[in-house]
């Protein structure tokens, strides 16, 4: 099909809309931004349709010199690794924009502008095929979220946003140092280049790999977040406005783990193998820690926050099983987690609104009878979150566990406990809010138009992927296998890549 996809349009369309909207009257401006994100979604769907699973390699490549003096190229591309993450970003940002456009009263143009900048930065980070460009977008992501949480959040929003940004920027700056050092050392006096393809060819020595690995891991683990770098999570999840929290939790957390697959495994294979056990321990610890704390939380948002830590633990477990099945499961799970978390936060927002602004589970209950649509959608999402067979999450977690069982049986067994715990804490939330008696002061009203528009499409996608997970698996297999291969070979007793050179 002679149909060209320009990734620059995908990446910069939201920002362009946001910039133009900033100079329009607020009423028209906000709809322009919504239209921009809808345009990105349409484009992403076109890309998904157009994507040929058998072609291999990078598609829709844009490759221009940006800062030639520093060897930084403006290089964008899509392969099986980021295709679905781009689609996920587009899919989730659109309802959030809609929600923001209708529910933001204070300085709505500025809010929409920051949301748009956030979408551009995330899409840029997913599309980037140049390490320096990736770092630029990765850091840029923080700017809009800093304003969104600090300007429109609840409670101690300034403290929360400051903690969030400092945590993540400390990680990002370490990564920046690591990225520059990697580029310079890999070039070894030759032409400086940060292109992933070039860096995959210029594997550096094992000692260098190790310390650069730690710098990158700091950035990605904070972003995910994984135990013990999750200190920013509680305050941030409490303070963040709903549409921002949806993309923060569903999409931003994926940029970190995506970085492991895209950058760390293929470019630092020896170090990935060396630190495999450490990462697995952190992953398993995050699964248990997140699950246990999710069970004991009273605030609905925090249940999801801690369950996210557990889920991200699963994803990292899959990646560092250094097995192609595990990695593919991890990628599948990245998409799944995004898909379930988004409606969950919207539903919590609905419940909170119905409960008169109370965010705790004690103040919720008995909604199921009076609000059947809400209850039905919530049930689907809950079952997907606890990885019921028939849900896409089931496929993802099974693949991750398969990948782990092959070489790292002990970690796999411990991680399976996490699957059970997920059932416990998710069913608890569902029961407490939907069953029991109505709490006085609660208004049992079913979903309104906007709420339905935000929750229903995403839930439909969950069901669709549950029925046909091959859609994702077929298109991601080749790319994930290729990215895991160098580290997997070393883990299987192959020669060190650094020494082989």
């Amino acid at each position: 099909m002679p149909f060209t996809i320009h990734l620059s349009i995908v990446v910069f369309l939201p920002l362009a809309a946001g910039l133009v909207a900033a100079f329009l009257p607020p009423r028209t401006g906000r709809w322009l931004v919504v239209a921009g994100s809808a345009g990105v979604l349409a484009y992403a769907i076109a890309m998904l349709v157009d994507f040929d699973p058998d072609a291999g390699g990078l598609r829709y490549v844009t490759d221009d010199s940006w800062i030639s003096e520093l060897g930084i190229r403006y290089q964008l591309g899509v392969d099986g690794l980021n295709l679905f993450l781009i689609a996920l970003t587009a899919l989730l940002w659109a309802p959030c924009m809609l929600w923001a456009a209708l529910r933001t009263e204070d300085r709505s143009r500025l809010f929409m502008f920051h949301m748009a900048l956030g979408e551009t930065a995330v899409l840029g980070a997913f599309c980037a095929q140049d390490l320096a460009l990736f770092v630029v977008f990765f850091d840029l992501m923080l700017v809009p979220f800093y304003f969104l949480i600090g300007g429109w959040g609840a409670g101690d929003r300034v403290g929360a946003t400051t903690r969030f940004v400092i945590y993540t920027l400390v990680g990002s700056l370490l990564m920046l140092a690591g990225a520059i050092a990697l580029g310079v050392i890999a070039a070894d006096g030759g032409n400086l280049s940060f292109s992933f393809a070039v860096l995959e060819d210029r594997i550096v020595g094992e000692g260098t790999q190790k310390w650069i690995f730690l710098l990158f891991a700091a950035a990605f683990l904070v972003k995910a977040p994984l135990f013990p770098l999750h200190g920013w999570v509680v305050d941030t999840y409490r303070a963040t406005p709903t549409p921002v929290l949806v993309v923060l939790s569903a999409v931003l957390s994926k940029v970190g783990v995506y970085g492991f697959l895209r950058i760390v495994l293929p470019i630092l294979p020896d170090a990935s193998e060396y630190f495999q056990e450490l990462m697995l321990v952190l992953a398993v610890f995050s699964i248990l820690y997140g699950s246990v704390l999710a069970f004991s939380q009273d605030e609905a948002r925090l249940v999801v926050a801690y369950s996210s830590i557990a889920q991200l633990g699963f994803i990292v477990l899959g990646i560092f099983s250094l097995d192609d099945k595990g990695a593919q499961g991890a990628l599948m799970q990245m998409v799944n987690h995004g898909l379930v978390v988004a409606p969950l936060f919207f539903i919590i927002a609905v419940l909170t609104a119905r409960a008169g602004g109370a965010a705790t589970l004690e103040r919720m209950g008995g909604m199921a009878l009076r609000a059947p649509v809400l209850a039905a959608l919530f049930l689907i999402v809950t079952l997907a979150t606890l990885a019921m067979p028939g849900s896409p999450n089931f496929v993802g977690e099974i693949l991750i566990l398969f990948g782990t069982f092959e070489d790292k049986l002990a970690y796999g067994i411990v991680a399976s406990v996490g699957v059970v715990l997920a059932g416990v804490y998710m069913i608890r939330v569902f029961q407490r809010s939907m069953h029991n008696r109505l709490v006085p002061g609660e208004e049992p009203v079913d979903l309104g138009g906007l709420e339905l528009a935000a929750i229903l499409p995403v839930t439909a996608v969950i069901v669709a992927l549950g029925v046909y997970p091959q859609l994702v698996l077929d298109r991601t297999e080749e790319a994930t296998t290729a990215k895991v291969a160098p580290a997997a070979e070393i883990a299987d007793g192959g020669p060190s890549v650094a020494e082989a050179r």
Binding site: I67, D106, R107, V136, T161, T162, V165, L169, A177, I180
Partner: protein
């Protein structure tokens, strides 16, 4: 035969000296024009003449632009290479910004507009000489010509005790710095027998890879090293490099804000310009002696500057400490002693100019519209009140912190790149750690502007045209000082533009890099 015929008239390169003539001539003209007491002369003509002198100098500098290691003029005393022209350009830009910020500043009323502008132009002339100095004597002449007008300008608000204190402190500390510098220069002359940079480089020349001294002086000669250390100390005073930075917050806070802005930007550029030329050209072969010491100073400066800034509530003090930290980053470019380091420093100096000018312009604007002075509270809710000032400040803070999309990010990237490539990877890491600490205080400024409590305020209908009362009213509305807002917006725009499309600045930096042919 008269005696006159016996004397060989020195060959003077008038074209090369044209920018200096424009500056010095301009300073005389504004001084004389300032004698007329008419309001129009004071408020419009004199600043316009000063700006015209700067623009003329800028034009001459552009005309003199040439790449490569061109020969210095006046018997090897003054370089007119791309490096000198580039830094001169930064001085002129800083000067133009200062003129704009000063037009309505109270200080010009007290010192007299003519005298004020005359001193400003004189100081810029000193900077141009300093940045082009290829000779120890020229270096000192430039150093003093730069400093003495600034001592006066700092104390310009003669009825404000803080301003007087600032001027006195700067005079005392500056004189100690100058004296140390002069002593150091004398010792270097004593060791090498030459005041020319080329002569000094010749005297300590190391030959080939074996590093056998082919010059007359060993690079470990105690006399030479003592001289280098004292010179470095003198320059460190000017550049506010720790531990010689203690005067900075006090002087910056007390000085009239336009002058603070000028000192923060132009003086620092001048100090680094001469440091680059002195260390990377005259003393390049002794790098193994001075580089580790400077690297240690850079690390200390980064840490001390950033930690010191955290506790500040006064924006000027905060920017002073942040300037100390930035000096540490810049020093990394000097330490590595490579072409890459030179280019990275030149790039960062330009970025540093834009981001600081934007920040100081907003401080000037707020100082005149609120009664809170330069306290951080003067910025409270600025995002709602006047976004055209809040955005430049936001951009400046993000740029200083090194967030992508700004010139500050590219500059830091370049400096870290140069550090790693020059085998000082840990210095790159120090820059990164410094940036982390700096987030605390830069983000606080942004939070104050954008994240205040939401208070409903009745919209006031602004008067259609605000007429500044008598031209100097500190209570005048922000719109009464369009030139200040313009400086802030232009500088912030430059910060963003060079953060997204830095190629023009890189091209200039490459030309600058070609000035020192001896560097690896």
């Amino acid at each position: 035969m008269t005696a006159l015929a016996q004397v060989q008239a020195p060959d003077i390169d008038y074209q090369g000296l044209a920018p200096l003539f424009a500056l010095v001539g301009g300073s005389v003209v504004v001084l004389l024009a300032g004698l007329f007491k008419g309001a129009w002369v004071q408020r419009v003509l004199v600043p316009a003449l000063a700006a015209a002198a700067l623009l003329c100098a800028m034009g001459f500098s552009i005309a003199n632009w040439e790449t490569g290691d061109s020969a210095p003029i006046i018997e090897g005393a003054l370089a007119i290479d791309a490096f000198a022209q580039f830094t001169a350009m930064l001085f002129y830009l800083a000067g133009l910004a200062t003129v704009a910020l000063s037009v309505r500043a109270p200080v010009t009323r007290e010192t007299g507009m003519g005298e004020y502008m005359c001193l400003l132009l004189g100081s810029i002339a000193g900077m141009v000489i300093l940045a082009g100095a290829e000779n120890l004597v020229t270096l000192f002449v430039g150093f003093e010509l730069l400093s003495i007008p600034l001592y006066v300008l700092c104390a310009g608000e003669v009825r404000r005790a803080r301003s007087l204190e600032s001027g006195l402190k700067y005079l005392v500390v500056g004189s100690v710095g100058s004296a140390t510098l002069l002593y150091g220069l004398a010792l270097i002359y004593g060791a090498t027998g030459s005041t020319d940079f080329s002569g000094i480089a010749e005297a300590i020349r190391l030959e080939g890879v074996t590093g056998i001294a082919s010059g007359t002086v060993s690079t470990t000669d105690p006399l030479l090293l003592t001289g280098v250390a004292m010179t470095a100390t003198g320059l460190a005073f000017k550049a506010s490099v720790a531990p010689f930075h203690q005067w900075t917050p006090d002087v910056y806070q007390g000085a009239p804000t336009p002058i603070t802005s000028f000192m923060a930007v132009a003086t620092k550029v001048a100090a680094f310009a001469v440091a680059l030329r002195f260390f990377d050209q005259a003393l390049a072969d002794a790098a193994t002696q001075w580089a580790p010491a400077l690297a240690a100073l850079a690390t200390a400066t980064i840490l001390i500057g950033n930690l010191g800034a955290i506790a500040q509530r006064s924006l000027k003090r905060m920017l002073a400490w942040s300037g100390v930290a930035q000096a540490g980053y810049l020093l990394a470019g000097v330490v590595v002693g490579s072409k890459l380091g030179l280019q990275a420093t030149a790039f960062y100096l330009a970025a540093y100019l834009f981001m600081n000018v934007a920040a100081f312009a907003v401080v000037v604007a707020r100082e005149r519209t609120t009664e809170l002075g330069d306290d951080i509270d003067s910025l409270r809710d600025l995002g709602r009140a006047s976004p055209w000032l809040a955005w430049p400040m936001t951009i400046a803070m993000f740029a200083l912190a090194g967030i992508p999309g700004t010139a500050g990010f590219i500059g830091k990237f370049y400096l870290i790149d140069a550090s790693v490539a020059g085998d000082y990877a840990w210095l790159g890491l120090a820059i990164v750690v410094g940036s982390m600490i700096s987030l605390v205080y830069y983000l606080r400024v942004i939070a104050v502007m954008w994240m205040g409590r939401f208070e409903i305020s009745l919209p006031t209908i602004p008067p259609r045209r605000v007429r500044p009362v008598g031209g100097w009213s500190p209570e005048a509305d922000a719109r009464a000082q369009p030139e200040v807002a313009a400086v802030a917006i232009l500088a912030a725009a430059a910060t963003i533009v060079f953060g997204i499309a830095p190629s023009p600045l890189f091209d200039l930096a490459r030309d600058v890099g070609s000035s020192f042919s001896a560097l690896p």
